[in-house]
């Protein structure tokens, strides 16, 4: 049970902070309205086109977001590989554990080629064009 105490404490702290911030804001914040502030939070760019009357939402964002995630995860996957690629050295510069070496290089190239195939598909099918 001891294990869960810090978690509970953290949850209470986090929840408390969220409620506190939202509750305190109306009392302490300045109130100067303008049009941009009333817009949805979109980094200042108007979402185009607007769904009218709850109609179909354009898939462009969706596609872009998914592509972003795919390549994002690819990069993340590359990190541990890059770190373990070379043999591990001790302070004296001697190898104390073998690296992944050539095998992993080939595997990683294959992985990249695989993702590239999908990339090529998206590109050729105009998935990267905005309009």
């Amino acid at each position: 049970m001891d294990l869960y105490v810090p978690i509970l404490v953290l949850a209470v702290l986090a929840g408390g902070f969220a409620i506190f911030s939202v509750a305190i804001a109306p009392f302490t914040g300045p109130k100067r309205w303008n049009r941009a502030k009333l817009d949805a939070y979109e980094c200042g760019i108007e979402p185009t086109p607007q769904p009218v009357g709850g109609g179909r939402f354009p898939l462009k964002y969706m596609v872009t977001a998914m592509l972003f995630i795919v390549f994002d995860i690819e990069i993340i996957f590359l990190y541990p590989w890059a770190v373990s690629f070379a043999p591990e050295l001790n302070d004296a510069g001697q190898a104390i554990a073998p690296g992944l070496g050539l095998f992993a290089l080939v595997e990683m190239l294959l992985f990249i080629v695989t993702v590239l195939a999908a990339y090529a598909y998206v590109w050729r099918r105009k998935g990267l064009d905005w309009d």
Binding site: L59, P80, S84, E88, A97, P98, G99, L100, G101, F103, A104, T114, A117, A118, A120, Y121, W123, R124, R125
Partner: protein, 527 residues
Amino acid sequence: MNSIPAPTIEYGTLAPLLVVFGAAIIGVLVEAFAPRYLRKAIHVPLTLLSLAGAFALVLVQVLRGQVSTTASAVGALAVDGPSLFIWGVILVLSFVCVLLINDEGHFVASAAAVPGSADEEEAESAGGGHTEVYPLVLFAVGGMLLFPASHDLLMMFVALEVMSLPLYLLCGLARRRRLLSQEASMKYFLLGAFSSAFFLYGTAMIYGYAGTVSLPGINQALARGAALDPLLMIGLAMLGVGLMFKIGAAPFQAWKPDVYQGAPTPITALMASGTLVAAVGAVLRVFWVGLGNLDWNWRPVIWGVAALTMIVGSILAITQTDIKRMLAYSSIAHAGFLLVGVMATFGTAEQNASSLKAILFYLAVYGITTVGAFAVVTLVRDPGGEAGHLSRWAGLGKRAPMLAGVFAFFLLAFAGIPLTSGFFGKYAVFAAALDSGTQPGDSMGGWMAALVVVGVVASAIAAFFYVRVIVLMFFSEPSADGPAIAVPSMGTVTVIAVSLLVTVGVGLYPESVLGVADDAARSLFIR
């Protein structure tokens, strides 16, 4: 800092997988670079050759006696005898399904276009259907191969997703009745994602209990006799939800009729045969390899699921008016029959091997008969697509006696009439279940017998609706504006002929498949 050791990969053992996935990736490149008019001409041989090649590689392993007895790919996969048998079955089934897929007119020209819109008309008039179907099918087949061969739960989850994602898409690609198809796709996706989440959640819980996701590791943790932890039980239940969803056992069967009805029929055939085979294979592996030491706990629960599935499947099938929905419920009932067999895979190795043999046999013969039945469904057409409503099938026996006869035969095989393969399938599974009840130390002896009784009653109810369709086809007057019987292409003819041949052949000579299944089962899942 911990370094990652370089893994060893048994390329020879995994070759069938690599061939299928490799071909799928080449298929994606074909989609990217080949001009539209060439794509199908490249895809068809590529897909068929890769499936045939993978099958040949499976055969090579079996014939050279090189069935591996240890896990491959650093314990992620187990390519053992049952795996290879299931691979062989899946590859044959998917090969036949691809022949069906080749037929013109099953797939929509532009899936993204709104049904009935100008976009759609334009795409329609440009001709052809989505050729992405081929790489998608290959990915799905790859996932199906991976699923029952996964040796740890994470790998199994990945396989589950690789298998399911392309299928979600494929379901939405029917050319006719677009809305129904899109609805099917959406429902399948939502519910599939929901159940996958359960599976993943269960995996996490079990990891919490056992400290590993490797199936044999879990079993060892169970053997160490840790107290029956709620964590384990909840994890097990969640895992079960994910698996039972995929095979369509009650109460997780609701998606099946909607999806089977909406999906393009060749894809339905692939799901009803290949996916079921793969999922049952995974169930068998999880329960035997991972939970073998827990059979006192999971067997009573599976008992209930099996009984419920058989009853729900066969009773609900009676009031169906759509042929594909009826076949979907029949598939649910068959999933129940298969679970009866799963109940018998516990205890000693011999006990497991004999039950496993029965299930493997059932899977093989049921799969091929299913594909044949759906192939026939593709041929009975209305102006708006396939003639799904059963009333349209009235009198088919008078208008197309050959086709109706073949379909009737498949239905009889589903019903398990002697001299069809279905009879021996059911007989083998029920016999294995009864046998297991007499094993020393089985506390569920009487329960097994009761389950078989439920199974037999469900079979009788099922036989009723199969025979009803036969009666409808042969003893009703055909309506004047009855459905057209499409002239079958060579591919469809081959599919029906092969299915018929296997259904008849195995019915007369069960030993042909039973022997292979026996060899495969004897080598057991790697534990």
